[in-house]
Symmetry: C2
Subunit: 265 residues, 2 copies
């Protein structure tokens, strides 16, 4: 056993091994791991103390209770998750988003039960504090996507499109976890990226100001990208009996008659 100074030996040994800051960080790290592996209602202060090699009173010395340590570890987790949305503005849009979603799904896979409990909101540990963490992560994701879209004045509709896509990423992640991550993450990722591109195009169809930017995004896409696969799949859909005719009829039926030629779609 390492020798101790008399001053140290007069105190509880376990309190002395780490500095105050180190011990606090250690407790948070241990709690994060436990809350990632189990829903919060299945993690007790005793579990945290045992995993940290500390006593129950020591944990209470640093945190008033389980809710406080849960919220602090959530804040750390939220900051880490938000950091995963940071992506250099290099390459085609769908390739950037692909890398972001890859890191997001890695996080989901590594923190399954905690992630699920947090997003389901049904947890007994849900509180304004935990909701603030979720909101902050969503805001970071939203803002990062806007950075990559590089628009001077994004419309309220575009912001809604982005927020709804983030919700889809969450719903998809929860479903993926609930199925024990049976599906390869590559497929989940590809669909999410394609869903974003599709939602962006639909938003641009209703907003002339956005259309030119979307044209630019698409021009930078490359064969084999998630966007290219989506375009190919949509083109393939037009081969389904009756579908192209139905679309052409709809486009023509509402045209003002100035252009008698069928539209390109």
């Amino acid at each position: 056993m390492a020798s101790r100074t008399p001053a140290a030996s007069a105190r509880t040994p376990s309190r002395r091994r780490l500095s105050v800051d180190e011990r606090r960080e250690q407790l948070i790290a241990v709690a994060l791991e436990l809350f990632s592996a189990r829903p919060p209602e299945e993690v007790s202060i005793d579990d945290i103390a045992a995993a940290a090699g500390a006593s129950r009173p020591l944990v209470y010395h640093y945190f008033p209770g389980k809710q406080a340590i849960y919220e602090e570890s959530l804040r750390r987790a939220g900051a880490e998750l938000a950091g995963r949305f940071e992506e250099p503005a290099v390459g085609a849009l769908s390739e950037r988003l692909d890398r972001v979603v890859e890191r997001y799904l890695e996080y989901v896979a590594g923190h399954g039960p905690g992630f699920a409990a947090l997003l389901r909101g049904g947890s007994v540990a849900a509180s304004p504090g935990t909701n603030a963490v979720i909101d902050e992560v969503r805001r970071a994701a939203h803002d990062q996507i806007l950075v990559h879209l590089a628009l001077t004045d994004p419309s309220p509709q575009l912001r809604l499109t982005i927020r709804a896509w983030i919700a889809k990423a969450e719903i998809t992640s929860l479903a993926w976890l609930a199925e024990g991550r049976r599906e390869p993450s590559e497929l989940v990722r590809r669909r999410l990226v394609q869903d974003f591109v599709a939602a962006l195009v639909v938003t641009a169809a209703r907003e002339p100001e956005l259309a030119a930017a979307v044209s630019g995004y698409l021009a930078a896409e490359r064969p084999g990208s998630p966007t290219a696969d989506l375009v190919r799949d949509l083109a393939g859909l037009l081969a389904v009996p009756g579908l192209a005719e139905a679309l052409t009829g709809l486009a023509l039926g509402t045209a003002d008659g100035a252009d008698p030629a069928p539209p390109a779609l």
Copy 2:
């Protein structure tokens, strides 16, 4: 003053005016109105008692506390909201959905603060009970949409598409309320319906089994429907410089070379 029987006059008069069931229903109705107009944390038992012309002890006689009366009124509200998704299987898909979304937005407009507090989940009154109500409403919406799609075996992806669209309807409704419902509900509704159709088409592009059904849905759509407007807007988008070329390039670049002709899109 109305004459009372001796037995009745021996009791608190206000308890005698309504039967037990009637009084309970009245308290719930009053609470529903208050919780629709204000967030739950701004409604007290005293407010409910005053609005019902009852005493505070009388309210407590029927409900153990505010949370219980809040949850019961939420259950009623949830049942009413779920009922608004019921729609006869008549007419084109986007027209049916249009009518459902119209009723949904009417509900949102009439129950703004309560609806917002419920969905934001940040309310101090959020609990497993309130979350169960939200989940039940979402499930009812999901199931009703599946009824109208009339598929024998909807895929997990399609279910996800539906659930994500329901989330988009919620996010859109909250944003609409937050802006004081500045935008006409017709526009909000049209976009939501179009978003569903677009998400359905994208899902079908990835699922050959769904493609034939979607072709059938589109064949039943009429000029002037939300779907027709969307198709026209998407066709218009192809006129944006460079956009059609970018899409054709992507579709061709990943084609397997068996079909050298450019795809129709």
